[in-house]
Symmetry: C2
Subunit: 336 residues, 2 copies
Amino acid sequence: MTIIDIARLSGVSKSTVSRVLSGAGNVSQEARDKVMAAVQESGFRRNDLARSLRSGRTGMIGLLIPDIANPFWADVARGAQDAADAEDISLLIFNSDWDPERERRHLQALTQSRVDAAIVNPVRDGLDDFLRFQIPLVLIGSSAERFPQLPSVGSDISQGVSIGLDRIVAAGLGMPALLVGDAERTARERFVAAVRAVGEAEGWPLDEMRLEDGQYTVEGGRAAMERLLKAGPPRVVFAANDLMALGALQAIRAAGLRCPEEVALLGFDGIPAAEVSTPALTTVGKPSREIGRQAFKLLNRKVTGQAEAPRLSLPCTLIERETLPRIDHPRAVGTG
Amino acid sequence: MTIIDIARLSGVSKSTVSRVLSGAGNVSQEARDKVMAAVQESGFRRNDLARSLRSGRTGMIGLLIPDIANPFWADVARGAQDAADAEDISLLIFNSDWDPERERRHLQALTQSRVDAAIVNPVRDGLDDFLRFQIPLVLIGSSAERFPQLPSVGSDISQGVSIGLDRIVAAGLGMPALLVGDAERTARERFVAAVRAVGEAEGWPLDEMRLEDGQYTVEGGRAAMERLLKAGPPRVVFAANDLMALGALQAIRAAGLRCPEEVALLGFDGIPAAEVSTPALTTVGKPSREIGRQAFKLLNRKVTGQAEAPRLSLPCTLIERETLPRIDHPRAVGTG
DNA sequence: TTGAAAGCGCTAACAA
DNA sequence: TTGTTAGCGCTTTCAA
C-alpha cells in the first residue's frame, strides 16, 4: 500500500494524495474527499520513513538518560514525552547506565536514525564526537556544566540546598551533618559547596562540619548513618539524596533514636518512596518532570532556530513531611 | 555526507561502500581498508532512514505502556530495552495513560514509523484496527486476556496469590481481608478469583470474607483500611497492590495497632517504596523487568517467524520483609 | 570482487 | 488546482 495505490483508487495523482495527507491548502474539496475515502477504505498509512528521507525531518527525538527504571529519570522522560506528544513527536529512549561506552553506542544510534534533536545526560566528555553532527542538543543533569557552550536544563541545587538549610535553621537545629553519595562527582561537589556557602553566611563552624560519603543507595545511606551515629548522633542530618536519607532513617530508628525529636533528617530529590516512609521524609524536591518538559521546549526552540544556548536552572521545592520538627513560630523560609 | 562521498573519497563504487558498511563478505581487504579509512576520516554515519526504506527493516520496535513514570512500567520498559539493546534495536516508547484515544494515536504513530514490531499493553479493544497492519505484536499485562489470538506475557497472578496465601496460612493467620483497587477490572477479578480458589481448598468461610474496594493509590489504601478497621480490625490483610498496602500500613499504625503483631499485612507488586516503609512491607513481587525482557524475546521469535502465539505467565516471588509474622516452625511454602 | 542501474515511498519544484 | 518529474540515501539484483 503506497500513495500510488491511493492515487489509483481515488483517480488523482500521487502528488495530490501527498498534498491531502500533508494537509496542504491547495487541494479541491472534491479531490480531498475522494482521497480520504480511499485512505479510509484501504486502511492506508503513510510511510514516515520515505517521508522523512525526502523531507529531512523524522519527527523523532532522542533521549539518552542513565536509567529509565530510576524514578527521577523516569519522571524526566515522562515530562519530555508529554511535551513531545503535544507536537506529535516520538521519543527514542536509551539508557547509558552511566557507562561512557554505552553512551557512545547510543549516541551513534541517534545520529544514524537521524533524530531531529536529542536530550542527553552526558556521562563523560564523549559528547565531542557527537557534536560534529550538528544535531540540536539539550543537556540535562549536573554534568551539563562541563559543556558551557551547550543549552541545558537542570535543577537549581544551590537554591534547593538553600531552602533546605533555611528550614533547618528555622527549626533551630543548627549546622547539619552531611550524607553524600558518590554517584556523580559534580553533583556531590555542588551540594557540598552550596551548603558551605550558606553555612558561611550563617556563621557555622564549617571546619567541624561532619560529612559522610557513601554509596548512592538505601544500604549506603544506612551504613553511612551508622558510622555517623557511632561517633555520636548529630542533631540533624542533610542527605544529598532521598535513597540515602531513607537508609539513614532506618539506621536512626534501629539505633533506638527518635526522628525528628532526637535526630532530624532532610532528604533531597523527592522520590515517591520518601512519601511512605515512617516517619515520612521531609525533603527538597527536584522538578524532574519539569526538567524533561523544559528540555524538550528548549530543543524545539533550537530546531526552529530562535534562540541560543540558554542554561535553565529550575527551582527545587521543599516538601514538608515529618522528619524535621515542626516550626511553632515560623520564621521566614526563603525560596531561593 | 552520503555513501557516494565515501565512494569518491575511497575510489570505489557506492555499492562497495554499502557492502563494507553492511559487513558483507565479498569485499577485498584493500577496498575494505580504503572505505573504512574514508569513513573514519570524514565522520560519515550511514543514514538508517534510507537503509530502512530500502530494506524494509527499521531496527526499531514500539513500546506502548500506560505510564513510564510508574515504577512497574518503567521496570518493564527497562527489561525490554536491555534485551533490545543486545541486538541493536531501538525503542520508541509511548504512554497511553490508560486512555483509548491516546492509545489509538500512538498505535497509528507506530505503524507510520514502520517499527518492526511492537509491545503493547492494550487499554481497550481498540487494537483491532492495528492488527490489520500485521506488525508482529506481543501483549503485556492482564488485559491481554481479551486477545487470546495474540502472544502475550504477564505475571502469574494465581501463582502469586497462591504463594502469598500459603505464607499467610503458614503463619497461622487464617483467612485474610482483601484490599483491592479499581484500576483494572481484569486484574481485580483475577486477584479475587485466585484468592477464592485457594480459600476453597483451605476450607475458608468465603461468604464471610471481607473485601474492601478503593482507589489504586496510597491514599485509597489508607481510606479503605480505615473502613476495614472501623468494622473491627482483621487479623491479616492481603492487598492487591503495594501502593494500597502502604496506605493501609499507615492507617494501621495511625490506629495505634501494631503490625504484624495485631494486624498483619501482605502486598502485591514489589515496588521499590515497599522496601523502605516501616515496618518494611512483605509483598508478592511481580517479575516486571523479566516481563519486558521476555516480551522482546517473544517479539523477536515472531519476527524471524519461528513460533506462534505463546502466552507466557511468569512466576511471582514472595519478598519476605516485616509485615507478616515470622514463621517459627516453617511449614512448606508453595512456589506455585 | 566489483560497478551500473533500478527502485524503496514519499515530497517538492515545475509546468500545465 | 493538478500532474509530471526528479530525487532523498541507501540496498540489491545483474552483468562484467
